[in-house]
């Protein structure tokens, strides 16, 4: 690993250079908020941001993705033949992603890349991506990454970590992929002595600014059915309106629905994000819905993230503590509070904390 120093001007011009040979994804300010998107020609990224409104998961896993195209024209040779949709496989340089969001790809990978099954669409896009993260010097009041297995300077899953050191950037180049990319961008000046300790200093300041935490230590040993039948779900779910906000802003929610859509004599097979908050998500063809009430659906979301995932992979929770759902839930359902209630639940004494997070 080496540390390079990048002047702020060099940073901007380097990103422009990367447009050659890469699709560059970076935070861009739109009218109201920051969006993580592919830079269009002459579009300028903006790194004066806390985090993007939506998570950058869509870079690898778009909200709607055409998988196949087909023809319904009986005269065509390709009548009813699914043809794979051509995708742009240019390497993706993901610049300025926050470490928590970058780590989310590692959590999601456990689902999309298993020894038995590999999701080719997700995996190809992921493998084509280089993650150049921007450390978080000033986390939000809703961040709880440090108790969710990651942190504002976390390097897991990164190719490089860039740190804003005031009038310049310091970057830890962690992989060969990143080394090549840094060369292409012209970011090659070795940092002066003391860069490592400067980064450590900024890291400890940032970590000390994380003001909330969750307890996850007891989740694994809780009995699944005890949590499932815990008395607090009704109370947690009361305010829920069953919208898809939490699942759509979440970097680790991965559920999808596959639909065929036709127009005239051609059609597409398309994969769309789905949400366990929607009644249709679990509706059976028979008409029966095993998660027919909103309480069932709210419980499912939290049980999946904080219990089923924990049990299945034994690698912690399916949450990186980015706090988007906390900020954006329209009715203030706070995963920090729910996680603490699940973690501290004692079915014997039925003590369940019901105060706010």
């Amino acid at each position: 690993m080496k540390i390079v120093q990048i002047d702020k001007n060099q940073w901007t011009s380097g990103i422009e250079k990367l447009n050659e040979g890469h699709r560059v994804f970076a935070p861009v300010k739109n009218k109201l908020f920051h969006d993580f998107k592919a830079l269009e020609k002459d579009e300028k990224p903006d790194f004066d941001f806390k985090n993007t409104r939506l998570s950058p998961k869509s870079i690898v896993y778009p909200q709607s993705e055409i998988l196949f195209r087909f023809s319904l024209d009986q005269k065509s040779d390709e009548y009813r033949i699914l043809k794979e949709n051509e995708k742009d496989q240019t390497p993706r340089a993901i610049i300025g992603i926050r470490p928590c969001d970058a780590y989310s790809f590692q959590l999601v990978k456990r689902n999309f890349d298993t020894p038995e099954y590999q999701d080719p669409y997700w995996l190809k896009a992921y493998q084509n991506s280089i993650f150049i993260a921007m450390a978080c010097n000033e986390p939000c009041s809703t961040c709880f990454c440090t108790s969710a297995g990651t942190g504002p300077f976390d390097e897991k899953g990164l190719d490089a970590l860039v740190v804003d050191a005031g009038d310049h950037y310091l970057a830890k180049v962690l992989t060969e992929k990143a080394e090549k990319l840094f060369e292409a961008a012209g970011w090659t000046s070795a940092a002066e002595k003391g860069a490592q300790s400067r980064i450590e200093e900024l890291q400890s300041t940032a970590e000390s600014r994380i003001s909330t935490e969750i307890g996850t230590d007891k989740l694994k040993n809780q009995k699944m059915l005890d949590l499932y039948e815990a008395p607090f779900w009704e109370e947690i779910a009361f305010s829920c309106i069953n919208c898809g906000t939490c699942t759509y802003v979440c970097p680790t929610c991965w559920c999808f629905d596959i639909q065929d859509e036709t127009s005239g004599k051609s059609g597409v097979r398309i994969r769309n994000w789905d949400s366990c908050m929607y009644p249709l998500f679990s509706l059976h063809a028979s008409g029966h819905n095993p998660r027919g009430s909103k309480v069932d659906r709210v419980r499912q979301r939290f049980m999946h993230k904080l219990k089923y995932y924990v049990d299945k992979y034994d690698k912690g929770i399916q949450c990186v503590g980015c706090g988007r759902c906390v900020q954006m839930c329209p009715v203030n359902i706070d995963i920090r509070r729910v996680c603490n209630m699940m973690n501290s639940y004692d079915p014997e004494s039925c003590v369940c904390e019901v105060t706010s997070a």
Binding site: L32, F33, K50, R53, S64, T245, V249, P330, V331, N332
Partner: protein, 315 residues
């Protein structure tokens, strides 16, 4: 308005203790600033979490739908109008609800304040006319009038229109407000400008349906966008499907919308959803002199017929 908190707690406790209701629905303090949470109390102890301030923008009438027990509900002007609409549409009977009326001086626009303040908001406090927002680096004061939700600033029904008891004296209603200013601006546009305006408006939509789900009017057992047999609307980010959702949702609210602003408040992408429904509200007002949810004694214009109804549109 924060002085209402104790009175709400008191009323809720009394109603539960006297057995007049089985549950009271109100708000409790949220875990993040500018955000209170709908809360229910079934025992006197649970009433102690109730709160009232300028962050109670969610429409609580939404939480009445399909409940079977006797309900006490905290209702500001718009909530009460949606309770009326629920009664008129036979979603609930008047006897099933005990309405704790709250004369309301308006809710603050969380999207607007977040935009106006640089930095992460960690706390909001208020007195009668001033909203104080604290960030890590300092605090900023706003005149409440300048940070109100747009629908609250132009509200002419701040008092509950129906109630069983009141938390405070009725307020003088605002009379010099213009509910339809932005509608007139859009009406003056050319067809192409209107198209572009609405395309731009819904461009950030992620189809989370928060607008629909926060709306007390949207109580269909199955929404048309959720039907799969037949499937009316595609599920992708295809712009036509997104438009279809917004247009049909708005039209389904024609003559029923109370402009409570819940749809706009809950939108995670900050879309000004009310631009759709306000035009329909204006048409109902101009054509029939109708504002939704003011009386249980009259049928809404779209489910009744009068020989003198305007009919220029059927030519």
């Amino acid at each position: 308005m924060t002085a209402y908190t104790d009175k709400i707690k008191e009323a809720a406790k009394r109603l539960l203790e006297e057995g007049k209701v089985d549950v009271v629905i109100g708000f409790r303090k949220g875990s993040v600033p500018l955000m209170n949470q709908p809360h229910y109390a079934q025992s006197a102890g649970e009433t102690q979490q109730f709160i009232w301030d300028s962050n109670c923008g969610i429409n609580l009438a939404n939480y009445l739908t399909n409940r079977k027990e006797k309900i006490g509900i905290v209702a500001k002007g718009c909530d009460s109008r949606n309770i009326v609409t629920h009664i008129v549409e036979n979603k609930i009977s008047r006897d099933q609800v005990h309405i704790i009326g709250v004369p309301c001086t308006g809710m603050v626009d969380r999207h607007k304040i977040t935009e106006m303040v640089s930095g992460d908001i960690v706390e909001m406090t208020e007195d009668a006319e001033t909203i104080t927002v604290n960030t890590a680096s300092g605090s900023q004061n706003f005149n409440k009038a300048e940070v109100l939700q747009q629908n609250c600033a132009a509200c002419s029904h701040r008092n509950p229109v129906i109630y069983d008891e009141l938390i405070a004296d009725l307020l003088e209603e605002q009379t010099d407000v213009d509910m339809f200013e932005s509608v007139r601006e859009i009406e003056a546009m050319s067809a192409q400008e209107k198209w572009d305006y609405f395309e731009d408006l819904i461009a950030p939509c992620i189809r989370c349906y928060a607008c629909r789900n926060a709306c007390p009017l949207c109580y269909c057992p199955q929404c048309f966008v959720d039907e799969s047999d037949p499937q009316w609307v595609g599920k992708s980010q295809d712009p036509m499907d997104i438009r279809t959702f917004h247009w049909l949702r708005a039209y389904h609210c024609a003559g029923r919308c109370t402009d409570c602003g819940a749809c706009e408040r809950v939108c995670p992408m900050g879309i000004k959803i009310r631009e759709f429904t306000k035009k329909l509200n204006k048409d109902c007002y101009d054509l029939y002199g109708w504002e939704a949810g003011l009386t249980t004694e009259e049928r809404p214009p779209l489910d009744t017929y009068r020989p003198n109804d305007p009919d220029e549109f059927i030519k």
